[in-house]
Amino acid sequence: MKSVWKFFTVHLLSDARNKRALFWSLLFPVILLVILVAVFSNLGTTSSINFKVILINEASKSVRGTDYAKLVVNAFRNISYPHKNAFFETELLNTKDVEKAVKEIRYSKADVIVVIPKDFNKAVMRSIFLQKLGLSFVKAKLKVLYLPNSASSRLACDAVESSINEINERVFSPKDRVVDFSLKSETLGETMKSPTYADFVTPGITVIGAFTTALFLIAPKMAFMRQRGVIKKYFSTPASALALFSAFGFSKLFLMMCQYFLVGSISIALGSCVHIFSLASIIYYIFICVVFTLIGLDIAFFSSTTTSVTALTSVVNLPMEFLAGVYFPLFNLPWYMNVLVKVNPLWYATNAMRQFMGVGLSPSSMSMNMLVPALWGGFSALFILAMNMLKGEWT
């Protein structure tokens, strides 16, 4: 027990002096959290949307009655900047500038072009007249030019359609025909009322933080100790292998716990309401830290030098992080990518941490959230033991 404590303090002091250790265990998750919250918090919200629309009014002026083309132009102006709650930036071009406008779309300088055709006023008046007579009519059409493979252009096209629907409803609908139809929304798996992006991302960052600590701190350090013969020197002392490895593991676990509370506190400072003191989340976090530590040790025992550890961890890290669903939601993936997601312990750990921290229900079952990381941990432990039997480093 005494040797465990000694080894523990030695490793902890060594980490405290090591800038790299402090960076990966404490600073990196905090930086990542702050960047993600800064980037994604306002993304896609109504206040941040700004579609560039080019409006071309080719319609001849209405001699008698309402100028419907002008009505459409004004409606677009009202939902364009600098008006409040605007989501369009509308530019009105002359009829001669159609070619120029198409070029703007092609060169991604604008999202959509709305063309009001020459006979627009006549067409609207004809439709209203025929409809009043109870006869069938052809709708007046606005041409909307868009790029089918651009998400931005596609969204802008939908937004234009929605605006036209509103014009139809507000301008032409008799009041008695408007139905009172309520709009409701429900978010499946939501346990926290209106979670912010900071709430959503914090559990994932705690998982990523523990994982990067295992890959970029535990793996290189153990590889360094092996390469420089430090482990062999330790075993020339009366200290046991169990004492050395448990102390090494506990010192890293201590750092990971500091990281957990630091990330949680910063997240709360950023406006999040995650339950960082929930007992279930702390216990599960310790469990995944043990699993990730074993994975880190696996890499250290698999590679012969610290250099190859760095290369291996760089290749392993990003794919596993992206397939954990922390940064982007994962759906519509081909089956072989789904297989990679379903064997990724980070995905299960993120799901479980979201549930335990009170953000939302886990889309995967809790038994799987325990089983898959446990299998990774078990196989990693077996691999380390097998490597030792082959190389006999501890004996």
Binding site: T45, K139, N149, C157, D158, E169, R177, V201, L323
Partner: protein, 357 residues
């Protein structure tokens, strides 16, 4: 010159780690990012959103209306038999959103695990709601839209549009890390101090290390492109000369960035830490994952400062999937090449100057 190039080349090809970073990581990264972003876009061929719908018996005639609406608006409606089936579809990610319609209300169902993607879905919620409301009320539609798709370059699928962005990130990351790591290692193991006493020019040394990496990165970009074409069944109308120019200039800039980062810190680990954080910022703030139109103003400003944004636009242009003014293309390339060369030269000077102390 010849000697230093041969020596650094031999050192380079013996370095398995760099080979792994330059050749393997761009392909792996491009594949994963490609599939994830294509998934968010609703498919590999067209931008679409899968919506599962449950209609109560009263509204069954709406099916045909929805089908015709879906064709023009990029919404893919999947009809289910009850609300629990609808929730299962949304929960399992088989559809991105669910709609349940009964006599008095319309319920939109989202999945919490989709996070910020739900913001994107809420944008189309209003549009669907108005269409339904109008149809149910029997309000005559006097004005409608006629969507006309504008073709640009070859007929591209969603995945072929995404791949250049993923490629740009993967290649730039590989180049920055590769040179930062190499120079930091030379610095840490004392090689630079030894080279200082030789008549070797500082700029020439860093340039020779960069040159091998530049050639490898260009080869890697061709390999990544072929892998993308093969795996995603995409066909690009590649303009090879401009493609090689933009890959070379942007890789030069990336190498320059890697070189200057290596001068900032003495320790390899610290350099790698700083490089990782810088690349994460560049990646997240670029317009590769999300279009400019849904970004807040401050994010747009930062995105315009990121080289990845311009590299991606130029790559799309050279692959024949989007257009760009030739003047703009030339300006970007001249800037990338000049900035890259200046950074490489300056970092050579700085890194050797630091060894004097």
């Amino acid at each position: 010159m010849k000697t230093i190039l041969t020596k650094t080349f031999l050192a380079y090809i013996r370095d398995k780690r760099t080979t792994l970073i330059v050749f393997l990581s761009p392909i792996t990264f491009m594949l994963i990012l490609g599939f994830i972003i294509a998934g968010i876009s609703g498919g590999t061929h067209q931008v679409s959103v899968k919506i599962s719908v449950f209609l109560s018996r009263r509204y069954e005639p709406l099916k045909n209306f929805l089908k015709s609406e879906g064709k023009t608006s990029g919404l893919n409606f999947i009809f289910v038999n009850n609300v629990s089936e609808l929730k299962k579809y949304v929960n399992d990610g088989k559809s991105q959103m669910g709609i349940s319609l009964n006599s008095s209300s319309m319920l939109f169902i989202y999945n919490q695990s989709f996070g910020q993607y739900n913001n994107y879905l809420r944008l189309i919620e209003k549009s669907i709601y108005h269409s339904f409301k109008k149809f149910i009320a029997g309000v005559p539609t006097y004005i409608s839209i006629e969507p006309v798709s504008v073709q640009r370059g070859v007929n591209v699928t969603v995945i072929s549009f995404i791949v250049p962005g993923a490629m740009a990130i993967a290649l730039m990351t590989a180049c920055v890390i590769s040179l930062a790591l190499a120079l930091s290692n030379y610095r840490a193991n004392g090689s630079l101090r030894l080279l200082k006493v030789t008549p070797l020019s500082e700029g020439m040394f860093v340039f020779s290390i960069s040159l091998h990496r530049l050639v490898a990165a260009v080869l890697s970009s061709i390999l990544t492109l072929f892998s993308a074409e093969w795996i995603f069944s995409s066909v690009y109308n590649v303009h090879w000369i401009t493609f090689l120019i933009i890959v070379s200039t942007s890789m030069l800039l990336s190498l320059g960035m890697g070189a200057i980062l290596s001068t900032a810190f003495r320790n390899v680990g610290t350099t790698m830490n700083f490089t990782t954080v810088s690349l994460t910022v560049m990646m997240l703030f670029s317009n590769v994952f999300y279009p400019f139109s849904i970004m807040p103003a401050y994010m747009k400003f930062i995105a315009y400062l990121m080289p990845i944004t311009y590299f991606t636009s130029c790559l799309r242009f050279t692959l024949g999937i989007s257009q760009m003014y030739l003047g703009e293309f030339i300006k970007i390339n001249v800037f990338f090449a000049t900035a890259g060369l200046i950074l490489i030269y300056a970092s050579g000077k700085i890194i050797f100057h630091l060894e004097r102390r």
